[in-house]
């Protein structure tokens, strides 16, 4: 069916609305004027920040939103510029993106793939967003990434840790700055082996959904490669609140390490429960019983209080890093909001800058141009050291932080300490690695 578009929307509208500075929605229509979905016609460009505002991850969503607002300020030349000053690419001028003022719309993903897609669609269809970003869970990221691929806009993933996001569900229009489960495993395993010995017996509790499985698979593979034995892997329902009935069976095995493949409220509860049941004081074969939380989130860790002390995990970024970029970011975020940013805030700030920079370098908002500019892009100064956006799967490759719950925190934010920065080489994998196989990036879609 042909699109009968009788109006010359661009011509008609540019005069009427350009002055008002509003981007015009043109999604899904073959418009004679727009070369690609939601091509910004006026003096501004609209980005869509799609974050959880309700549901269990709402606090992370709120922190992401703060970082987005900060990023928009910096892009528009307000504030102190944050990491724009330390970013290795100097394409950004502080005059918006490609001279257009950056505006944004926000939406609530509710941490449900349906709601997230509805919200993203409304940004694309109604508000004319040319890029969608955000999210705090993998299900949502994958769902929205798929949508953006179909609609022909760029998706810059927020916090998503599942291997699938850049594995079996990777999409040409989607990019992930955050690290993934495989990297967590690859970074953690050597540290675990070095500290706890290479003959440990691990017991896994795993949230019973896709992300949990990929993390369990990754950790099992990387620890077993170093000589650990996996005693058991037990799936726990997502809706579980009390994990006592999953923790007590651990007591009856000869396992001496408990790996909690949980996130958010699940992590807080399972860790608290594990500590309640005295697992940290437990001795097995003359050695201390240990608990590992492969994916740490400082925001969430607060809910577990002092239970996280001494527990090893990995994280994408932490505000206590002392490199130039991190410090600049913490300074401008902390000055504005009064507390340090979370890893979720950091990753979405980076994603926004990276997108803007790619547009500048490509000289267009056209998704295909952006994809080309981002693929294989090497950069530095965004808090993670030298980083590459790999062209094969649109995954960022950078150093991974192994962290530990701090024994003597000096403030309510000072919960984690970095014990090791695992170099990027150690966490790099082949794009066709079995854990990531099965997907197909496809071709970039510019829509319209």
């Amino acid at each position: 069916m042909s699109n009968s578009n009788f109006t010359r929307r661009g011509v008609l509208k540019s005069g009427a609305v350009a002055g008002a500075g509003v981007a015009l929605p043109t999604i899904f229509t073959a418009s004679s004027a727009a070369a690609y979905t939601n091509e910004p016609m006026g003096s501004s460009v609209t980005l869509g920040f799609n974050v959880p505002q309700s549901g269990p991850y709402a606090d992370e969503g709120a922190d992401e939103l703060r970082a987005y607002q900060l990023a928009v300020e910096h892009l528009n030349g307000e504030g102190d510029g944050g990491m724009m000053n330390t970013f290795s690419s100097k394409a950004l001028q502080g005059n918006g993106i490609l001279g257009k003022k950056v505006e944004y719309v926000t939406g609530d993903t509710q941490t449900k793939s349906d709601a997230a897609r509805a919200s993203a669609k409304s940004m694309i269809e109604k508000d004319g967003a040319v890029m969608i970003t955000g999210g705090s869970s993998s299900g949502v990221a994958i769902a929205v990434q798929g949508l953006c691929q179909e609609a022909g806009v760029i998706f810059m993933a927020g916090l998503t840790h599942s291997n699938d996001t850049t594995g079996k569900d990777k999409k040409a229009n989607g990019f992930r700055h955050f690290f993934n489960a495989y990297m967590s495993g690859a970074a953690l395993a050597p540290v675990l082996a070095a500290r706890y010995g290479s003959d440990r017996k691990a017991y896994h509790l795993t949230a019973d959904y896709t992300w949990g499985w990929t993390q369990e698979e990754s950790i099992v593979a990387s620890t077993e490669a170093l000589g650990w034995e996996t005693v058991n892997t037990v799936k726990t329902p997502l809706a579980a609140t009390d994990f006592s009935s999953y923790i007590t069976p651990v007591l009856q095995t000869d396992a001496d390490v408990l790996v909690l493949n949980h996130y958010g409220g699940n992590m807080v509860n399972s860790l608290t429960n594990a500590v309640q049941f005295g697992l940290r004081e437990k001795q097995v074969n003359g050695r201390n019983f240990e608990i590992v939380v492969p994916l740490f989130s400082r925001l969430m860790a607060r809910g577990a209080g002092e239970n996280i002390k001494g527990i090893l995990g990995s994280t994408n970024w932490h505000w206590s890093l002392t490199d130039e970029g991190s410090q600049a970011f913490v300074k401008s975020f902390g000055t504005k909001y009064g507390f340090p940013p979370s890893q979720a805030a950091h990753t979405v700030y980076c994603q926004t800058l990276l997108y803007a920079d790619a547009c500048e370098r490509a000289g267009t908002f056209n998704p295909c141009g952006v994809v080309e500019a981002l693929e294989g892009f090497e950069f530095d100064g965004l808090g993670n050291g030298k980083t590459t956006y790999r062209a094969d799967d649109h995954q960022c490759f950078k150093d991974v932080l192994v962290v530990r719950g701090k024994e003597n925190p000096t403030s309510e934010f000072d919960l984690l300490e970095v014990v090791e920065v695992t170099p990027v080489e150690q966490v790099t994998y082949d794009p066709n690695h079995p854990m990531f196989a099965g997907g197909n990036l496809g071709a970039c879609n510019e829509g319209a």
Binding site: T29, Q53, L65, S113, S119, S122, I142, A239
Partner: protein, 403 residues
Amino acid sequence: MLGLNKKDTRFLLIVIALTLLTPIILQPFPEGSSLAQFNAGYPDLMQRFAIFGIFAIGFNILFGLTGYLSFGHAAFLGVGSYTVVWMYKLLDYNVIWGLPLAIITSGLFALLIGFVSLRRSGIYFSILTLAFAQMSYNLAYSVLTPITNGETGLQVYTDDVQILMGANEPQSPHFFGIVMRENFWVADIGAWEFTFNNGYYFSAVIAILAFYLSLRIFRSPFGLMLRAIKTNQTRLNYTGLNARPYTLAAFVISGMYAGLAGGLLAAMDPLAGAERMQWTASGEVVLMTILGGLGTMMGPVLGAGFIKYFENIFSKINEQVLRQWFGFLPDGLEGAVVWVAEYFVGSGWHLTSGLLFMLVVIFLPGGLVEGGQKLAGLFKRGKSDEDIDDPEHQPKQSPHVAE
């Protein structure tokens, strides 16, 4: 006309007109104006209005007519969606295969659940349906991932078989080449912009058919029996009628409506998430029905529109927008107003909807339809009594009694 009496025909025609003109009606504010935020005439939301309207219409056949409160209808919604996406994966993107099958599978599923659940009544029935739906959701999210793709939601991959896929076929859901997500016309009239979307009109036509069918059911002997079940099952039994097959039929029909709605969701957007089956989704359709007006023809549709509007429009109003609106106020006052308003919009949209549920239930026990009638009554006071008669021409609500 169409087997309806004059009044119903007029009613149906009004509904058809409203449905077809939705893209215009929901876009009352010019683009670029600060009120454009409240426009709802974009394809995704309009599709949702139509689809959740179907869901609520079907649910009303069960709950509104028989009084059996099911807390598990989201399960049928989910089954419908999964069926359609599976048809995409196995055959091709033409929705013609999936939609009828969605109705059939959800109907069979409803038959199974209904057969068991309808052995009990009252809250025991509600809990049985809730239990079945929660089991479906929990399993779909975890153990059944090979079928449902769990957390991510079922979607089409490039390596799926798609045996009927033609060379030039669109790579997204379509109906014999009419691609759902495409607009056939985007009209710019002055500062206004109206989007006429294939998917919306596809859903709208189905919604009208669904509405028409439900109108016929309401006016049929079968509908009469269902209402009789709600008011007095004892008398029904002693009048020689077997309530069970009637309730079961109503349950299955409303399950099929839910399956159709679920299928359409997947027809508009080829992804089926497990959250569709969660109890909150079942609760949502209950809210829609009661909010709009239980047992009325138009109420559930209004309720569905109301809730989806809040979810999609209010959640998007953020601080930036508020500051824009209230920027004309003096600084201190602006801050205060924005601070208060932030409770209710953006992430506070749940709060607003919770308050509205309460207000509607407290002051308009008959739902929005009752509110509309009261309003109409005010305007029509001068006219004869007969004109005030509502288009629903419902029997008067009996006094509400707790037990």
